[in-house]
């Protein structure tokens, strides 16, 4: 029977396919063998440590009556997690049978379930639920580590949530679209889905309840509408939408060779944010000014060991070569907070990781690691123009320290006989409110600036952008955000320091008039949205927008800002 479920459209595109429902924490593992038995045991025990940490963290958060009631369950779960019978059984299965940790978990679970379901006592019999929960958590932890997901070509995944790493694999496997019960349109997954052109609907809890494996679905990632068992008119709509999206894409593609020039003839610099070789190739093909943000975390997070100077140098050099003489901006390591960490770099167990040891703070604490990274970047400058960008700067002292280290690295490399560029510009990310406010005091220490609007908004508004219950409260359309952006951009322009916005705000065509009106001349975004931004730039009259900036800054709330946006679009 036809059923429409609505969520929030997080990534445009229309898709049709059979549903594949992934309930939270279910074991659907088939027989798998591993070569590296010791490695698999390490993987299992690392997952056990992760789950133990999660439980301890949960336990600490509980208070009052809840602590009593749920605490007992947690105690039981903690004991199950450390149960010698369970663990030895798993170790034996992996060691003797060479099973994967996932499969060993499943076998062990089935074995235990067999015994429990045979019990007379109904209460004890139902303790299998507790064991399932513990095993489910373990399985999820294993999952997060290797990001292993199974998707089937032509299917639409319906899940409670989806991690950014999973999206990449799902698309590679040919999954047509993803529908999640939770999530927000501004989450990392949503951002990534847009860049992958993978239709995504988030915030559709009904989907998980009403959709079964094999149901035919039509998903509109634009409006967030999901239809189960579509009727004739749904199919017609889907076809129309598919044509519409294809036409849009075609029109956009014509802009590949066009300049990013406003109606009144001002060229705006569009840089590309890049993470992969494909991104770099695409950025080059789209005529990007260069790479405005190359995140180096991926070098670290995708391998289980810290990459040495040579490995990093080769990656940066290839990036520089890929852009054939256009400038490449490489950001120093920014792990912590919301990024998984496999290399043991970030300090775990921080009560408040968003405010913890991350970005340049971590680099300055681990100076040997930082020096290695700077050396690799500076060496790459021998092959083409390189700029170095420092994340999470919050005060002048940090820029002083980084400058000093960079000067030493450059001197060392010259002495060692390396061919490096005469200038390796050093820039600061402006993403912590204190840096934005104190910028007049240290702008002289930066050769260029890049505003990270995602973190700046999050820190300025004290709103976690991944917190679903806060939903739409997270938005750069807040007078405080706009005023701070305006003051930073104005200062940089006055001091003739190149300044770009590299957050999500720069990737959204709807925000282009706002940023242009404030005097921003450089945008950095993932190649996937570059043509849409270019189209927006080409439809703007810069002098008209500049004249309307005061009105924008007078807006007292979101409605006022949106009114301004509607007025300039008219």
């Amino acid at each position: 029977m036809r059923l429409a479920v609505s969520g929030h459209g997080a990534s445009r595109g229309s898709a049709m396919g059979c549903a594949r429902v992934r309930l939270p924490h279910v074991l659907e593992v088939t027989e798998q063998y591993v070569e590296d038995v010791e490695g698999e045991l390490d993987r299992l025990h690392a997952a056990i440590d992760v789950v133990r940490g999660e439980m301890q963290a949960l336990r600490k958060r509980l208070q009052g009556a809840m602590a009593q009631e749920i605490g007992e369950f947690l105690d039981l779960h903690a004991l199950l997690l450390d149960d010698p019978e369970l663990l030895q059984g798993l170790d034996t299965l992996i060691r003797n049978e060479r099973y994967s940790a996932d499969y060993a978990l499943r076998l062990q679970r089935d074995r235990i379930a067999g015994v429990f379901t045979g019990m007379d006592d109904a209460y004890l019999r139902s303790r299998i639920d507790d064991i399932d929960q513990v095993i489910g958590r373990l399985h999820a932890a294993l999952h997060r580590r290797d990001g292993e997901v199974r998707g089937v070509a032509g299917e639409i995944l319906v899940a409670d949530n989806v991690a950014p790493t999973e999206l990449l694999q799902l698309q590679a496997q040919g999954v047509m679209a993803v529908v999640t019960a939770g999530g927000s349109t501004l989450s990392h997954s949503a951002i990534l889905a847009r860049s992958l052109h993978l239709p995504l609907v988030v915030g559709a809890p009904q989907a998980l309840l009403k959709i079964n494996d094999g149901d035919v679905l039509v998903v509109d990632g634009g409006t967030g509408l999901v239809v189960r068992e579509p009727d004739a008119s749904d199919l017609r709509d889907h076809r129309a939408r598919t044509r519409e999206y294809a036409r849009e894409r075609k029109q956009l593609n014509r802009l590949r060779r066009e300049p990013s020039r406003t109606l009144d003839g001002v060229d705006i610099k569009l840089w590309a944010n890049a993470e992969s070789r494909e991104d770099v190739a695409e950025a080059h093909a789209l005529g990007a000014a260069g790479i405005g943000l190359y995140r180096t975390e991926f070098l670290f997070l995708n391998s289980n060991v810290l990459p040495d100077e040579e490995a990093q140098f080769r990656a940066y050099r290839d990036l520089v070569l890929g852009m054939t003489g256009r400038t490449v901006t490489i950001r120093t390591l920014d792990v912590g907070a919301d990024k998984a960490d496999r290399t043991g770099l970030a300090l775990t167990d921080e009560p408040n990781p968003a405010l913890g040891v991350r970005g340049v703070r971590l680099s300055l604490l681990r100076d040997a690691l930082f020096e290695t990274q700077l050396r690799a970047m500076v060496r790459a400058s021998g092959y083409g123009p390189v700029r170095i960008l420092v994340p999470m700067v919050c005060c002048r002292e940090e820029m002083v320290a980084v400058r000093a280290l960079l000067a030493r690295v450059i001197a060392d490399l010259r002495r060692e006989g390396h061919e490096i560029a005469e200038q390796v510009p050093l820039g600061a990310m402006i993403e912590v409110p204190s840096a934005a406010i104190a910028l007049p005091g240290f702008i002289g220490l930066a050769d260029f600036l890049s505003i990270g609007t995602n973190d700046l908004t999050q820190y300025l508004l004290a709103i976690d952008r991944n917190n679903e219950s806060l939903g739409e409260l997270y938005t750069p359309l807040h007078p405080a955000v706009l005023r701070l952006l305006h003051s930073v951009i104005t200062l940089a322009n006055k001091q003739r320091k190149p300044i770009a916005v590299c957050g999500e705000m720069a990737a959204d065509p709807a925000f282009v008039p706002i940023l242009l009106s404030m005097g921003l001349g450089e945008f950095s975004m993932h190649p996937a949205t570059m043509l849409e931004v270019r189209r927006a730039v080409r439809s703007c009259d810069l002098s008209r927008l500049r004249a309307r900036a005061p009105a924008l800054l007078r807006a007292t709330d979101r409605a006022g800002i949106e009114k301004w946006m509607a007025a300039v679009a008219a």
């Binding site: 007992e72 039981l76 004991l79 199950l80 019978e85 369970l86 015994v115 429990f116 004890l124 303790r127």
Partner: protein, 89 residues
């Protein structure tokens, strides 16, 4: 090695909560611990094992401990059984 005969006298028997208390108490000792009841032996340091014993109220069980701190472990467990696992009722 020490063996100690004990009676499950609390209201619910060796249910999840009492089993958890037993395993928690034993986890503080280094000795091996086995619980024997109804002709079956289980690892007394395994919460699953203890629950699977399904020792209801009135069941006679034998605790077997083996290791350097076995005497203290046996006393601690006997005391726990004596307090009816701190159940209120």
């Amino acid at each position: 090695m020490i063996e100690r005969e004990l009676l499950v006298a609390n209201r619910l028997g060796l249910h999840a909560r009492a089993s958890a208390r037993l395993v928690q108490v034993l986890s503080g000792f280094r000795c091996n611990a086995t619980l024997i009841a109804k002709g079956r032996e289980v690892n007394a340091k395994s919460i699953m094992g203890v629950m699977l014993l399904a020792a209801g109220p009135g069941t006679d069980v034998v605790l077997r401990v083996d290791g350097e701190d076995e005497a203290a472990a046996a006393d601690a467990v006997a005391e726990l059984f004596g307090r009816n696992f701190d159940e209120d009722a």
